[in-house]
């Protein structure tokens, strides 16, 4: 999984394509750690290209959320597909990682 990072003024959008699993989860953690290190702490992960997530991927998502919040920002997710939504719901993580319909809407309220 490769990640694209775009500064959208007010927040930073990250997008990855493929499967967020044991192999790609550490990459997501690295990309987010680096972005936060560069001062981007308001992050939106565009999951339109994420067709599958496993438990390692979920672990990475929650880890990234914590890192962003510790840095005084937040991590939000958008364009979440049905399999990802299912995993979030099953683990009740949809309560803290609420999917937004689009990247624009993720920080639309603040």
């Amino acid at each position: 999984m490769n990640f694209e990072i775009v500064d959208r003024g007010g927040y930073t959008a990250l997008a990855g394509t493929g499967r967020l699993n044991m192999v790609s989860a550490p990459k997501l953690r690295d990309v987010v750690t680096e972005a936060i290190g560069q001062g981007h702490n308001r992050l939106v992960l565009d999951m339109a290209g994420t067709e599958f997530i496993d438990s390692s991927g979920l672990g990475a998502l929650v880890g990234c959320l914590k890192a962003a919040r510790q840095a005084g920002g937040d991590l939000r997710i958008a364009n979440v597909g049905s399999q990802v939504q299912m995993v979030l719901k099953l683990t009740s993580m949809d309560r803290i990682l609420t999917p937004y319909a689009s990247v624009d809407e993720a920080f639309g309220d603040d």
């Binding site: 672990g59 049905s82 009740s92 993580m93």
Partner: protein, 357 residues
């Protein structure tokens, strides 16, 4: 000629072992103590060693460990100790097979023949992961506790490697505790977290409420899980046998159902997040009534690989469980559903007998 060394302090049993193996064409020698056994093994270089654990001088497990330091002979433990802990320890220390006393001479002959027909190098080539998988299989419960009026069974789809799934249970004949959990990820890392969680979930599970048990487990596990960036989904169930009242905590697992006698099913209610993801999380205990002829089924997420969604998967689970004559065949039918899945699959079925029971 295959050389067998019989390590056994009872002359009668030693004689029976020797005559059984000689009938199979083995050349036999005997030792009645641990020291004599080690000495004979060095001197005679046997191909097969039958090892009693209750020796007069050294514990058989220590003899097993010492034997393994210099011989790759097949070690077949023949012992009256039936405890899981002893069997696991023996395998861990290098035993190849385990036969409990009293034994059938025919089974002894069959086990010995099965061992020697495999090339011994195959044993040496066991990788660490294979060893781990063997130990992990050994940590799964073998037999369900008996609980009057109920039928309980569980199983894992045989998986070549280690994983994060496990189930465990205990009963005092009146109440029952069952846990099914899944640690994040795959492989050895997940297996280590699973083994730790299994141990933490054991103390007090028949006396503490489900919420209390999960709370305590989370307190123990959270610091490690958070440091490791790992987590554990858990469905922990307590049943009061006489009333059929079930209390449970579903910590981000989600894959538990109650199948009513008519086949209609409903899902367990979520209690909170998985362990290790959110420090300070709280888990609400929920309750359900298990009616006569009703069934509680718990599965791991390996099943989801074979279905488009959770509802479809659980619907298939209910349909597989409902017509099965007993819990054991229900588990087998559920595990068959995940045949196409890459992931491990674990299932536990608890069925309450009908009024006739």
């Amino acid at each position: 000629m295959i050389r067998a060394l019989i390590v056994e302090d009872s002359p009668d049993i030693s004689g029976l072992l020797a005559s059984t193996l000689r009938r199979q064409g083995y050349e036999t020698a005997s030792a009645a103590t641990g020291h004599a056994a080690l000495d004979a093994a060095r001197r005679l270089r046997p191909d097969l060693i039958t090892l009693d654990l209750g020796l007069p001088d050294i514990d058989g497990l220590d003899v097993c460990r010492s034997l393994r330091s210099f011989t790759d002979a097949y070690i077949l433990v023949v012992s009256a100790r039936t405890d899981e802990a002893d069997r696991l320890a023996a395998f861990e220390l290098g035993a190849d097979d385990y036969l409990t006393k009293p034994f059938s001479p025919r089974e002894l002959a069959a086990k010995a023949a099965a061992l020697v027909r495999r090339p011994r190098t195959a044993l040496e080539e066991e990788t660490e992961e294979e060893t781990a998988a063997r130990v992990q299989r050994g940590l799964m419960p073998e037999q369900a506790p008996s609980l009057p009026g109920y039928d309980l069974a569980g199983g894992c789809r045989p998986s070549r490697s280690v994983g994060g799934d496990f189930f465990d249970w205990e009963s005092d004949g009146g109440s029952l505790a069952v846990s099914l959990a899944d640690a994040m990820g795959k492989g050895m890392g997940a297996a280590l977290v699973a083994a730790t969680a299994r141990a933490v979930l054991r103390p007090g599970r028949l006396t503490r409420s489900a919420a209390d048990l999960v709370r305590r487990a989370a307190d123990s596990l959270d610091p490690d899980l958070i440091r490791l960036g790992s987590f554990l989904t858990l469905l922990h169930v307590r049943l009061d046998g006489p009333t059929g009242r079930v209390t449970y905590v579903d910590a981000g697992h989600g894959l538990g159902i109650l199948v009513q006698p008519g086949g209609h099913w409903e899902r367990v209610v979520n209690s909170g997040p998985p362990l290790g993801l959110l420090p300070g999380a709280v888990w609400a205990e929920h309750e359900l009534e298990l009616p006569p002829d009703g069934t509680v089924v718990m599965v791991s997420d390996g099943l989801l690989d074979s279905f488009p969604g959770v509802d479809e998967a659980l619907d298939a689970v209910a349909s597989a469980a409902a017509p099965s004559p007993d819990a054991r065949s229900a588990v087998a039918a559920i595990l068959d559903l995940g045949e196409a899945a890459e992931d491990d699959l674990t299932a536990v079925v608890l069925r309450r007998g009908g009024e006739r029971l």
